[in-house]
């Protein structure tokens, strides 16, 4: 088995996770014995990743910064088979959800996770959630520094943080180390962006108060440049200000974005800086030695430079149209010559976005072992990624993915849809999301047509909590309930690209479920008629405005 090229637990990490499993086992026992009320038990199970959904308990497993080894993925397959129904759902927060867990099995499932240095800690509850990062980290050609080093430092600091386990509301942190932000840092409670200043030093831009949900907001810059080693002191200061002053009178106004909005970013900054001044020289300062010890574990695998031009690849490109399209949409540049980053699409035509069976997970683990140094990533777009693939191996990887049903050449295209679990699973949802995604996916299944349409992000949420990120979809679709009928509201113009982050605007009245596909088709047709060469859907919309789209959609429905 290949060595991992990311953080490995030491005895301290293992001890803590094992003790946490023991503690939860006792809590479950007390709940089953009736010693704990559901109200008392709820925050305990939530901070261990256990939700009560529409039909059953759901276990949300943390995949910190989206990085997985093949060994870990095999264990996830095993757990899904043993304690669930043999499949799992990769989420927009780089987690894996198992939808049919029994309460009495949950401690055993967590103990099985601990065997491969994984946990479900703080994947729910009003605490600092599992930290996310760029899914191309450590491999991307455009990277300044690997954000996972810092994500791991944040993971440890935030794990069982005694002061911040009962915050006003959940708290999500995302980190990117590239100018092309793939971690959506402007729509998180705190977004961290590594960048190099004029003096050549690398530090963080600290962005606060972004988020989607009921009140979508773009995050604001709290600190333009923070020296890296002061990160934890600055985060602790920010969280302390939020814990003390964030609203607790109304669940829907409790996120930090509301605090920032109400007091203003200047006041927020003044409060955080005052707190930070008190603690910056304290124990939270990170020594270079500590950072380097963690950074060493993220040292990339040794990749000997190879030729980027491989005859067999070029031959297949000419003879197999789908492979040629796949190279264009699913293969991204690697920073080492002759290598590539491959995205396996978990969105085959007509399938629920992000789902993988145990067999598919094991197949992906095998591919990772054979072709990607045993490593995989989960993207917030609900796909799996092989970060280190030699270009000469691309035909073999394509063929192996094809056998698993994950070789669809649709990454970034109209059928690479993000959808929340919706009313099929979720107790909060107003409408179904997955069947809508499946219908759109079937309608646009033709790959050549998808590539002609080009980059187009459709994001679907089954309620205003916006787990499907519909606010930032080029086309956003929001399920609403009107007198017991599921209707879908369309919005246009959302974007998460850095520097262009924007929230979509509602197009007009909501449409019925059977009209969603026609409506999307009309939007696409409007774009195809109006586009000028090189324009993506979102660019055309920006140029010509919503009116032409609106007219065409509402003439139909």
């Amino acid at each position: 088995m290949p060595d991992t090229h990311f953080y490995r637990y030491d005895e301290y990490d293992r001890t803590l996770v094992a003790e946490r499993v023991d503690q939860f086992r006792d809590q479950v026992r007390r709940r089953l014995a009736g010693e704990l009320t559901e109200e008392q038990f709820k925050p305990l199970r939530l901070t261990n990743g256990l939700y009560l959904q529409l039909h059953a308990y759901m276990l949300r497993i943390a995949i910190p910064y989206g990085t997985l080894s093949s060994r870990q993925l095999r264990k996830l397959a095993e757990i899904s088979r043993k304690y669930d129904r043999g499949y799992g759902h990769f989420t927009t927060r780089q987690n894996l959800q198992l939808n049919w867990i029994k309460l009495e099995d949950a401690p055993d499932a967590l103990a099985a996770l601990a065997e491969v240095d994984m946990h479900a800690l703080q994947t729910s509850g009003n605490c600092i959630r599992n930290v996310t990062a760029d899914h191309f980290a450590g491999a991307a050609a455009d990277e300044i520094e690997d954000p996972r080093i810092w994500a791991e430092i944040v993971r440890q600091w935030s794990t069982l943080h005694p002061e911040f386990t009962f915050l006003p509301r959940k708290f999500k942190i995302a980190i990117t180390g590239s100018p092309n932000d793939r971690a959506a840092v402007r729509v998180h409670d705190i977004g961290l962006r590594l960048w190099r200043n004029a003096a050549g030093e690398v530090g963080f831009e600290v962005i606060v108060g972004g988020g989607l949900g009921r009140t979508p907001m773009i995050g604001k810059t709290l600190r333009a440049f923070l020296p890296k080693n002061e990160l934890l002191a600055y985060l602790e200061a920010t969280l302390r200000v939020y814990n003390r002053y964030g609203r607790r009178d109304n669940l829907y106004k409790a996120r930090i974005k509301i605090l920032v909005h109400e007091v203003g970013v200047e006041k927020m900054r003044a409060d955080v800086e005052a707190e930070y001044a008190e603690i910056r020289d304290g124990l939270l300062g990170l020594s270079d030695e500590t950072v380097e010890a963690i950074a060493r574990q993220f040292a990339p695998p040794h990749l000997p430079p190879r030729s980027s031009l491989v005859a067999a690849v070029e031959a297949l490109r000419l003879e197999d149209r789908d492979f040629a399209l796949w190279l264009k949409s699913n293969v991204a540049p690697h920073r080492v010559g002759g290598h590539a980053i491959v995205t396996a699409s978990l969105k085959p035509a007509g399938a629920p976005p992000g789902d993988a069976s145990a067999v598919q997970m094991e197949g992906m683990a095998d591919i990772a072992d054979a072709f990607s140094h045993g490593e995989l990533r989960v993207s917030h777009e609900q796909n799996l990624i092989f970060p280190h693939v030699a270009i000469e191996d691309l035909p073999a990887v394509y063929a192996a993915l094809g056998r698993l049903g994950f070789a669809e050449a649709n990454v970034g295209k109209i059928t690479d849809i993000i959808a929340c679990p919706g009313l099929d699973y979720c107790a909060l949802a107003n409408a179904r999301s997955i069947p809508v995604a499946q219908r759109i996916s079937n309608h646009f299944a033709d790959l050549a047509r998808q590539h002609d349409i080009g980059d187009l992000k459709i994001k679907i949420s089954g309620c205003i909590n916006a787990c499907g990120h519909h606010h930032v979809g080029h086309i956003g679709i929001l399920g609403v309930d009107k007198n017991g009928v599921e209707l879908y509201q369309l919005s246009l113009g959302g974007d998460v690209d850095f520097g262009k982050t924007a929230l979509g605007t509602i197009l007009g009245p909501a449409v019925t479920a059977d009209k969603v596909v026609e409506a999307v088709d009309a939007l696409v047709a409007t774009y195809l008629d109006a586009r000028i060469p090189g324009e993506r859907f979102v660019d055309t919309h920006r140029r010509i405005g919503a009116q032409p789209f609106k007219e065409r959609v509402y003439a139909l429905v």
């Binding site: 301290y12 803590l16 003790e19 069982l160 003390r244 990170l286």
Partner: protein, 150 residues
């Protein structure tokens, strides 16, 4: 409501005045704060205070954790720091880490849970007012020991 003292000694028996009343009698050694009261205002007086009571209106309202850390860490308060209100055994390990040392709780089994709470987690990741060495420090020490052996 039963009162538990972590240190094992006798809890303070002073009547804790509300923050508003205490401000009229700054020489009184015991004060009970709401979780919205500004702990910073106690700074000139912490040396005289023997008991500060912090309130959890609900166990899920975590503002008093920050108040406790500020009192212990920043203001250097050394007297008894008591948690009252929604004080449950599953939160007591966090409370200890933030500097609380006495607890009012009517939950069955709280006393036994308190006795176990310090050993529930033998590893911590954060430096706080309880003075425990976080994992990052243990790692540094271990590396230094290994380096000196070489």
């Amino acid at each position: 409501m039963p009162l538990y003292n972590e240190a094992g000694g006798l809890p303070a028996t002073y009547v804790a005045l509300s923050f508003a009343d205490w401000r009229q009698r700054l020489d009184w050694p015991a004060v009970a704060l709401a979780n919205t009261d500004p702990v910073e205002d106690l700074a000139p007086h912490v040396g005289r205070l023997r008991l500060i009571v912090l309130d959890f209106p609900k166990f899920s309202d975590g503002r008093a954790y920050s108040q406790a850390r500020l009192l212990r860490g920043r203001l250097g308060y050394r007297g008894e720091l008591r948690a009252t209100g929604g004080v449950l055994q599953d939160q007591v390990a966090f409370m200890l880490r933030c500097g609380f040392d006495s607890f009012e709780s009517d939950q069955k089994g709280f006393g036994e849970a308190l006795a176990r709470a310090r050993t529930l987690f033998s590893i911590v990741y954060q430096p706080t007012e309880d003075g425990r060495a976080p994992a990052s420090l243990l790692r540094l020490k271990r590396r230094n020991v290994m380096a000196s052996k070489r």
